[in-house]
Symmetry: C2
Amino acid sequence: MEKQYVLGLDMGGTNSVLGLVNKEGQVVASASIKTQSYPDITDYINALYDAAQPLIQKAGGADAIRGIGAGVPNGNYYTGMIDGAMNLPWPVVPFAKLMSERFGIPCKLTNDANAAAQGEMTYGAARGMKNFIMITLGTGVGSGIVIDGKVVYGHDGFAGELGHTTAVRGENARPCNCGKKGCLEAYCSATGVARTAKEIVSATDRPTQLRELDIDHITSYDVYKAAEAGDEVAKQIFDYTGTLLGQQMADFVAFSAPEAIFLFGGLTKSGHWIIDPVVKALNENVLKLWRNKVKVLFSSLSEADAAVLGASSLGWEA
Amino acid sequence: MEKQYVLGLDMGGTNSVLGLVNKEGQVVASASIKTQSYPDITDYINALYDAAQPLIQKAGGADAIRGIGAGVPNGNYYTGMIDGAMNLPWPVVPFAKLMSERFGIPCKLTNDANAAAQGEMTYGAARGMKNFIMITLGTGVGSGIVIDGKVVYGHDGFAGELGHTTAVRGENARPCNCGKKGCLEAYCSATGVARTAKEIVSATDRPTQLRELDIDHITSYDVYKAAEAGDEVAKQIFDYTGTLLGQQMADFVAFSAPEAIFLFGGLTKSGHWIIDPVVKALNENVLKLWRNKVKVLFSSLSEADAAVLGASSLGWEA
């Protein structure tokens, strides 16, 4: 029987979404369970197995499913382990092995940013590209790097942590959740933008509609709305954020000479307000041979499906 | 007839050295010509061909030579072109094609730092390693990156320009020869160390034997000798240089998670004076999962043979 489908699992700290995906990259059915409701990993996998039954039936049985691809926090592609995920009830488990055994279908896993890169290459705007970088701008900053048509995993499976390269050095650099200072993630994630908004609004007397908001809870969407309304302080916040990201991207280009860098995640909803300063800073900081040559693109996958699609793409190689 | 040999060409702005290399990685014979004596590329290749005759005879004829590997300034692996090499009489030529035609032996080329990485993997301490980075600390700072057992060339053939990632940002960053500011090369090359020596010696009143030298011509070897003699200012120069290099290497680790980073070139003769601050800064700036895990090693290839050996290693795949 030809295997026409894969299952994609997007495991988050709150929800776990499972999708049945066909060869055209369409999520034809999905199901979800609450990640935190299962303190025991066996119970979690059993619940997932039960939730998957309608999907498996829709596919025409487990024999029609080529593999399961899972995007999980701290997932290690080489070992199939979840390894040190503090936002999960089971920070260290041999997840791919347990899934394969319960489902009777081979399972491969990776982290969410690598899954997004794999998904863009399999179903999205990176189809046919051999060298690109995916940067996810969400609660954190993640990345998936593709070289010669393959996601880079490195010696230990953990390559592609570009959110923890250093964007700002020195005493005044922001602390990052990882324990280091000045990481790209501390500036260019959704929370980074919120911190920048608080700093810039506090430091200026200029009029801005952002001052009317609770300064501890300004979101990147608030900044976007203000920029759209012509607010100069909001524009300054995006310029600052985009400049740091573009500068850092110039170093990434010097490393792997990608054809394109894709941006994905909540911050990309800010459109040209974020991408314009990114492109400007990138081109000001690359060697002449790359100036105006590296494409900066938004991911073409719909945000609703992207995580499941990205994860599922690993199923084809499982 | 089994092809037991390759030819390796190390083309510099001054000398072009050709070596006959066997499968054990020994340079069994060599010859050289003056690069600048041939304003016409055809004359250069004819001179090289004549100089190669004793080597080809030693091999037992052209049939015994598998390929020619060339390490050349601005060499593009994909196209076989020399492309924009300002220190050569012929800045843009289809060098691999011309060589293959004249010698009747297939020729592949790359730049010198990529050749060094390839050589370390084929003959040196990186044998068996699938993921490592080679950083060459010479007149400039070059790099060759190996991922999954292959040198990274990227979309256009120019990947691995880590000497032009930004080590220092802001107004006071040093101008680099490339036209940008703050590049790693402006600090961690031989000339970078000379600039640092001049700056630090000028700015301090502390006693240092370096003050007895012509301040515009202090070399990294002078600084090494002073450090060996217990000179505190010399040690500070190496600390400054090594810290910048180690910080930058931490970002490289976040990119490709290498098993090891190799250092090669003149500056490595300074031994522990340079490598100790490099290792310290690297480990202070990587994510916890990599702390004290990434090896920092000096290249195992002898400096005299390394360039020819590195280039020759491409000959096996030509």
